[in-house]
């Protein structure tokens, strides 16, 4: 708040001024605006609304209405390639620059796998599952300065972004979450407090299966052997030496992935988390076990 000199000066001024008390306080001059209707020369007469008609009666017309003209929004022909755009899946972007920034500020722990829950918890990224948001699109802004070595799971990533992460010795996976799972990941505490069992993650819809089974996209449903093959191919394409993660001391962390049916790291579907008494209830019934493992 302010510079140091201003602070010191104002504090030293206070020393020679009368004691601040309830009786000699006031706000900054002009900070309070009274919303009164002025009389006479202070905005009286028509009070800025004009004389007669629509303006005086403050009859605001509906949005887009041009008093009888063919309105602008109808004048332009429809563009059918936008049909259904409000139903398409959206992936609000998170740039590599932002990701590097939150890592530098130590707002996320890179010694553990990073998923959408840990990124939302930093407070720098927000999304709304009810508005067709299906998770993070990791974009290439700041690709040249990205230096972190991480195991990250996002929902959408381009080829350059995958290359940038793998060049630093990191691992990236793209994974699909249905909107209900995203609600849980966005605010896990609220869900755990409701006392419900963790549900299964749904499989991707038909039009998304192709993306998430493709090893080029590092899809979570792709064959791991093919993924490692693609890692090598990408390294050759972009011309970098692929770091050997098998010899990395944190190899086990880099191998951690969620099960396709799992929502939270370390928690399985069917479990009930009790935050108050700090324990986890696990199902024992055969039928339940079969249901959650299916």
């Amino acid at each position: 708040m302010g510079s140091r000199q201003i602070t010191e000066k104002s504090l030293s001024m206070l020393r020679s001024l009368p004691r601040i008390s309830l009786s000699n306080l006031r706000d900054n001059p002009g900070s309070k605006k009274t919303s009164k209707r002025g009389r006479a020369q202070h905005g009286g007469d028509k009070h800025g609304a004009g004389n007669k008609g629509s303006g005086q009666r403050q009859n605001y017309m509906r949005l887009g209405y041009e008093t009888g003209n063919n309105p602008f929004y109808l004048r332009v022909p429809q563009e059918h390639y936008y049909r259904g755009h409000h139903l398409r899946r959206q992936y609000p972007p998170l740039s590599l620059l932002q990701l590097q920034h939150i890592i530098d500020k130590d707002r996320v722990d890179i010694n553990k796998p990073i998923d959408i829950a840990s990124i939302v918890k930093t407070g720098t990224y927000n999304f709304y599952p009810d508005q067709k948001h299906f998770g993070i699109n990791l974009t290439d802004e700041g690709i040249d300065i990205f230096k972190a070595k991480i195991n990250i799971e996002v929902q959408w990533a381009s080829e350059q972004v995958i290359a940038a992460i793998e060049r630093n010795g990191g691992v990236i996976t793209t994974a699909y979450y249905d909107p209900h799972s995203l609600y849980l990941l966005k605010n896990p505490k609220k869900f755990f407090e409701s006392g419900q069992a963790i549900p299964r993650r749904m499989i991707p819809p038909p039009d998304a299966i192709e993306y998430y089974t493709n090893p080029e996209n590092r899809g979570y449903l792709a064959d791991p052997d093919k993924v490692s093959e693609e890692r090598l191919k990408l390294a050759q394409k972009y011309g970098y030496q692929l770091p050997n993660i098998e010899s990395d001391p944190e190899y086990s962390m880099f191998c951690e992935r969620k099960d396709p049916r799992q929502i939270f790291f370390g928690l399985e579907p069917g479990w009930v988390v009790n935050l108050k008494d700090k324990f986890i209830l696990k199902p024992k019934d055969e039928e339940l076990l079969q249901y959650y493992s299916a």
């Binding site: 708040m1 008390s21 309830l22 706000d27």
Partner: protein, 284 residues
């Protein structure tokens, strides 16, 4: 006015705190003792970046005469921040308003007794047209837009304005020599006269607010302050801008000062977005 400022700034340059070296690497409080004077140096969770800690005398409470027991360091972010008078004022206004329910009440034309009948025919009498003798134009008629009882004036001041209100008030109190530090609230006697003499002798002004970190005060001070309505005790969690300004002098125990520093520094450096969200005023 200019001369007053110049002298104040001169005094400031002379009394600027000497450079200090943090001797210990431990997180605990280290006490450096030289020639019977205790200087308490602290390692804060968020150390002051460009300013020096403020040094304040620790005073005794076991005799009427003042004795200096040592020096104590206060964090400049909390106790020497910019004294924003406007924020202090906003805090005071908020504290007055949030618990105020206005019971002023007037009756509308519908609520005033009578007035159901048309007083005289619409036409033919040469008089003005009227439909009710309780119309606002009539004497004894209803009131337009009058006050209605049970009007609440509750609102939440934004979180950081509340925090900066506290730091501004504490800084202003310290700058005006109205903030004193004591070891604890132990008094040698439960006589109100003793406390009265002590306050008189030290020129603490008639009204004094003692703040401790617990809400259980020693017996002597509770008995002594019972008879003195202008001397009050408060735990740290009750500390507020209004009470600090209502009393001339604020007296903190060492534990209370540390607790205030710890809480305010933590809240100033924490991400409080999700906690503030329910209190946002412009939400639909």
């Amino acid at each position: 006015m200019a001369s007053v400022l110049i002298t104040a700034i001169k005094r400031l340059t002379i009394t600027a705190a000497p450079t200090r070296v943090y001797s210990s690497v431990t997180n605990s409080v280290a006490t450096v003792s030289n020639s019977s004077l205790d200087v308490t140096k602290k390692e804060w969770m968020f150390p002051p970046a460009y300013t020096k800690p403020r040094e304040v005398w620790i005073e005794n409470m076991d005799s009427v005469e003042e004795k200096k027991l040592g020096l104590f360091e206060l964090h400049p972010t909390v106790f020497a921040s910019v004294p924003r008078i406007d924020l202090i004022h906003r805090n005071v206004t908020w504290q007055r308003k949030y618990r105020w329910i206005s019971w002023a009440h007037t009756k509308t034309r519908a609520e005033v007794r009578g007035g159901g009948k048309k007083p005289w025919p619409q036409k033919g009498l040469g008089r003005a047209r009227h439909g009710s003798i309780r119309s606002p134009l009539f004497r004894g008629g209803g009131v337009i837009h009058g006050p209605r009882s049970g009007t609440t004036h509750f609102y939440m001041l934004p979180f950081h304005q509340r925090i900066y209100g506290l730091t501004s008030t504490l800084s202003a109190k310290l700058a005006q020599d109205d903030l004193h530090l004591i070891k604890n609230l132990e008094l040698p006697s439960d006589e109100p006269e003793f406390l009265k003499d002590l306050i008189e002798n030290r020129n603490w002004g008639p009204s004094v607010l003692f703040v401790d970190d617990t809400d259980i005060a020693p017996r002597n001070i509770t008995v002594a302050t019972d008879a003195l309505p202008h001397v009050n005790i408060m735990p740290v969690y009750g500390l507020n801008v209004y009470s600090m300004l209502k009393h001339d002098t604020l007296v903190l125990t060492l534990a209370a000062a540390e607790r205030i520093e710890e809480r305010i520094l933590l809240l100033l450096h924490a991400i409080t977005k999700d906690k503030e969200a329910p209190f946002k005023l412009d939400q639909v």
